[in-house]
């Protein structure tokens, strides 16, 4: 893609007084406030204080592993007043899919736009399978005779591969931001995502709660969603966008409809959804008018008729016959099929569904890619992976497993300092002001800050993708699609089969 300028990275530190880091620094009374630590730490951990320095950015500290450096403050402090140890609260953070290190690493990228320097694992989680067991096999550095430089590498993807007369839609990064409705997240969250999408030249989906007016300035970067509840769907909203998405199902609650608890249905939400404030909203499941691929095609045709320029995306979940579902979407005329794996999602869902119903994306995506290849139609449709993509590495891995690009949600929320407490639905909603419609809590976040955090994180992701492509000697992310040979699953590959290094 020519002429696109990636947005500028600007520092966007934590909204809270103390950012959460892996280490905790204490300065004892022995401190004479000589100021040496403030001066020598290259990461800006300390700030001048009146009685003693303050470790106001302890989340940037390298921890005890810094002892190999000559600027190690704990060693250099003449009074030995500095103590660095693990932060006890850090242990409580996160879960197996998003361990504390991945959270802190993602916060770091959102703050600085750079990859973490503190030795945090920002690439994988600790789930013991899928992405967390898969690595890239990268040729040893300098193995390439024709080195590729960063500037030569394209991360752009084309979303309309159908060959029809509708416009081409190219996005400079292989990602867009998935549907999170107003109601499930705050308006600030929603707009931060939309504005970040504009800056990154990509898209952000409305989710199923209607099209708030505030989004209208960003029409060209909005995907409007038509879901089973048809909440807030109007001809006008379908006409104003470049991509319309049909949500058949979603990974977080496969086979179940959307569900917004009554507490979250404020007058504003109710108005947009043409519903009654305070009463819970259920989207039925599935589309009650769809019994077959032919019925499905009628839906797609309907949208295509209303908006003759729009691309149509179909979002489905990952049942046993996910390959057949994808083929069906192709024959129904979809430009994009989005496979939403079962482990992701942001909204409230029964735990039993999240854990057990439908396949993780790591299984579903290769199944579909291989099936469409065999059917000879793989290059006519764009496959987008979502539901459980947490990092730049997950993104690169799923592309190597057959996706053209990815769609994200949870990662954005983490960039906005979601702590993954899983309590988005209790009381007034997210206590951190992300997934809430409560005014006071919404005010905890500013739009500029939110926008920048998301821009920063995805800029860091893009840089990592470029680096992986460069090390593989590839010039475009399109070359990576379906390259199972550059991946290894740690449980099934033998050491002698690996030529190169694992990352």
């Amino acid at each position: 893609m020519t002429g696109f300028h990636f947005p500028e990275i600007k520092n966007a530190p934590s909204r809270f007084r103390n950012a959460l880091g892996k280490y905790r620094i204490t300065i004892t009374r022995a401190c004479t406030n000589c100021g040496l630590c403030v001066e020598i730490c290259p990461y800006g951990v300390y700030q001048v204080g009146s009685k003693r320095p303050k470790a106001s950015c302890e989340h940037l500290c390298l921890g005890p592993s810094c002892s190999k450096n000559d600027f190690y403050c704990a060693e250099r402090c003449p009074e030995k007043a500095i103590h660095i140890r693990l932060n006890p609260s850090f242990e409580v953070l996160g879960d197996r899919r998003w361990p504390a290190e991945l959270l802190a690493g993602t916060w770091h990228m959102a703050e600085t736009g750079a990859i973490p320097h503190q030795g945090l694992n920002y690439k994988t989680g600790d789930s013991g399978g899928g992405f967390d067991k898969i690595r890239f096999i990268l040729p040893k550095e300098n193995g390439n005779d024709k080195p590729v430089t960063d500037g030569d590498i394209s991360t752009a993807i084309e979303l309309n591969r159908s060959g029809d007369s509708r416009p081409k839609v190219t996005i400079p990064v292989p990602l867009y931001l998935g549907g999170m409705s107003f109601g499930s997240v705050s308006i600030v969250t929603m707009l931060s995502r939309a504005r970040a999408a504009v800056a990154l030249g990509t898209f952000c989906c409305t989710g199923e709660g209607g099209y708030p007016e505030e989004l209208m300035d960003y029409d060209d970067n909005v995907i409007t969603q038509v879901a089973t509840g048809l909440f807030g769907v109007r001809e006008d909203t379908i006409k104003r966008v470049r991509i319309v998405e049909f949500k058949y199902a979603q990974g977080a609650k496969p086979g179940l409809g959307g569900h917004l608890l009554g507490d979250k249905v404020t007058p504003r939400v109710a108005q947009m959804r043409e519903a009654v404030a305070g009463s819970a909203l259920f989207s039925p499941f599935p589309f009650h008018s769809v019994y077959s691929v032919e019925d499905h095609k009628k839906h797609v045709d309907w949208i295509k008729e209303i908006n003759r320029k729009a691309l149509v995306s179909v979002k489905v979940s990952t049942p046993t016959d996910v390959d057949m579902v994808a083929v069906g979407s192709y024959y129904a005329g979809a430009h994009i099929v989005q496979l939403d794996g079962s482990y992701g999602g942001t909204g409230a869902a029964p735990d039993i569904a999240k854990k057990n119903i439908a396949m993780p994306i790591e299984y579903a995506l290769p199944k579909v890619h291989k099936f469409l290849l065999a059917e000879g139609i793989r290059d006519k449709i764009t496959i987008i992976a979502s539901g459980g993509i947490r990092s730049a590495y997950d993104m690169a891995k799923i592309i190597a497993m057959g996706a053209d690009g990815v769609c994200l949600g949870t990662a954005d929320l983490v960039a906005l300092e979601c702590i993954r407490c899983h309590h988005c639905e209790s009381g007034r909603g997210c206590a951190r002001g992300i997934a809430t419609t409560d005014d006071e809590l919404t005010d905890l976040m500013e739009l500029e800050w939110g926008t920048q955090r998301i821009i920063n994180m995805y800029s860091a992701w893009r840089a990592q993708l470029v680096n992986i492509l460069k090390r593989l000697g590839m010039r475009s992310v399109a070359e990576l699609v379906g390259r199972f040979d550059v991946l290894a699953h740690m449980d099934y590959i033998r050491q002698e089969e690996i030529e190169g290094e694992l990352d």
């Binding site: 197996r96 013991g128 179940l256 019994y291 482990y343 999240k354 993780p360 040979d485």
Partner: protein, 460 residues
């Protein structure tokens, strides 16, 4: 259509302070006495709601905190921390994990199914039941409406022998004998507990709960006394002693009786049946590699219900034991191949700890399941097994009020029932009877790993 099965739930508060995953540590020393302390800003008013339980001398602070970390992140002197609760980590064991146990407590207290935001946070897969996923349907098959009320999803199953064909008399009347069949509205019966504090109160809670739910609790012949007599219509007597000792009156009124597997099992079944032709007899068998063969033989001899039991961890007997789901699949498929699966009822039990295990074991071939430890956990059991050693129970279960105990059990089963509906609804299946053996509508870890990952990193 039978009336819709609905389980009435009601909040049944814990008797003891919950053990939560993490706690709050807030130091007083160094406090700056800020004009507005961050503790006042807690969205959940945790610091205002805290109180001291004088029975246990425990602060409730930890159990109300929702882990938002705002107080931790906003106190200028960093005096507030979160820490993992050591007593949480030691709950239960490798199989009955703290997550499972606290999940059972939640359901038993509220009758609600666990719902949370922000996706799934657990491991990718795991042994046993965690190595399979269930199917969903993208387009209309009988829909999820059943869950919200418009349509009907039935969770009823039958216990007993089924007739494979009907014979008609000259006037079109059915002349083939119809063996007795007992319907239960939920595919769950309550099994004998592997261990528990002594006394009548726990069995009474189970029986009371079984009656409220319309199902059955198995109770040993030796445990029958005047206190439980009232509940006998919902009891399955397990003949673990001398069958001759069974009171004839009792035998005549019983609907289901369980007998141990072994030499004279079929003879005993016939003898009991001759005294009460309406009786369904279950044969209790320890699950082992020999089960498929034994099951075949027993069915051929006229067995009607086999209750296959694994240990507390879902493992069968013997060296290198197989997990219950694996062996059950094999038994089911073996009997299907022999063309006799539909004649009998298979119950599976042992290691069933969550609602999803019930659905998954049914998919693997059980008609219904039996549960044990979750019933104790419903009443706040911590699966510490101190009672097994004869030590006093930390939650004083020997003293439990059977009314409260049964409420908790009913709540738990209501939550399991709703979760079974979630699974059935997503699959577009309208009847728990039709879920049985539907392995094609499930996805298994071993198959998927082989298909998807095994070829990675290989050229060509």
């Amino acid at each position: 259509m039978p009336p819709k099965y609905h389980i009435e739930t009601s909040q049944a508060p814990n008797r003891f302070q919950k053990i939560t995953r993490s706690g709050i540590i807030a130091w007083e020393e160094g406090c700056l006495k800020c004009a507005r302390c961050v503790k006042k800003d807690c969205v959940y008013q945790v610091y205002e709601k805290r109180n001291l339980d004088d029975r246990q001398m425990l602060d409730s602070l930890d159990s109300v905190c929702m882990d938002c970390f705002r107080c931790v992140q906003n106190c200028p002197n960093r005096l507030i921390h979160k820490g993992l609760n050591p007593s949480y980590k030691v709950l239960g064991d490798h199989y009955w994990t703290p997550e499972i146990i606290s999940g059972l407590w939640f359901q038993a207290e509220s009758g609600r199914i666990p719902v949370s935001g922000a996706g799934y946070g657990g491991p990718f897969s795991g042994p046993g039941f965690d190595a399979m996923w269930t199917d969903m349907s993208e387009i209309v098959r009988p829909t999820r409406d059943g869950i919200h009320g418009r349509e009907y999803i039935s969770t009823t199953v039958d216990i007993g022998r089924k007739v494979m064909s009907l014979e008609f008399g000259p006037d079109g009347e059915i002349i083939s004998p119809a063996p007795p069949l007992v319907e239960i509205p939920l595919p769950v019966i309550f099994d004998i507990l592997p261990w528990s504090p002594p006394g009548d109160r726990i069995p009474l809670s189970l029986l009371y709960g079984a009656r409220a739910l319309g199902t059955f609790a198995i109770i040993r012949q030796s445990a029958i006394n005047n206190a439980v007599r009232e509940f006998l219509p919902n009891a399955i007597i397990y003949v673990d002693g001398n069958p001759g000792g069974l009171n004839t009156q009792l035998l005549r009124s019983a609907r289901i009786i369980e007998i141990p597997d072994g030499e004279g099992a079929i003879a005993l079944q016939e003898r009991l049946r001759s005294m009460n032709p309406d009786l369904v007899v279950m044969i209790r068998m320890k699950l082992s590699p020999k089960t498929p063969e034994q099951a075949l033989t027993l069915v051929a001899q006229g067995a009607e219900v086999l209750h296959l039991v694994a240990d507390e961890y879902g493992l069968e007997e013997g060296k290198d034991p197989l997990f219950i789901k694996e062996r059950l699949k094999e038994v089911h498929l073996y009997l299907v191949n022999k063309g006799i699966r539909d004649q009998i009822t298979l119950l599976g039990g042992g290691g069933i700890a969550m609602a999803e295990h019930m659905a998954k074991l049914i998919i693997c071939g059980a008609d219904a399941i039996s549960i044990d430890i979750p019933l104790l956990a419903a009443m706040e059991c911590r699966v510490c097994r101190r009672c097994k050693e004869g030590i006093s129970c930390p939650v004083e279960l020997d003293d439990v009020d059977p009314v409260w105990g049964s409420l908790r059990i009913v709540n738990l089963m209501a939550a399991w029932h709703s979760q079974l509906l979630e699974i059935l609804g997503a699959m577009g299946i309208r009847e728990a009877r039709r879920l049985r053996g539907e392995m094609g509508r499930a996805m298994f870890f071993e198959d998927l790993e082989r298909e998807i990952f095994a070829t990675m990193g290989k050229r060509g």
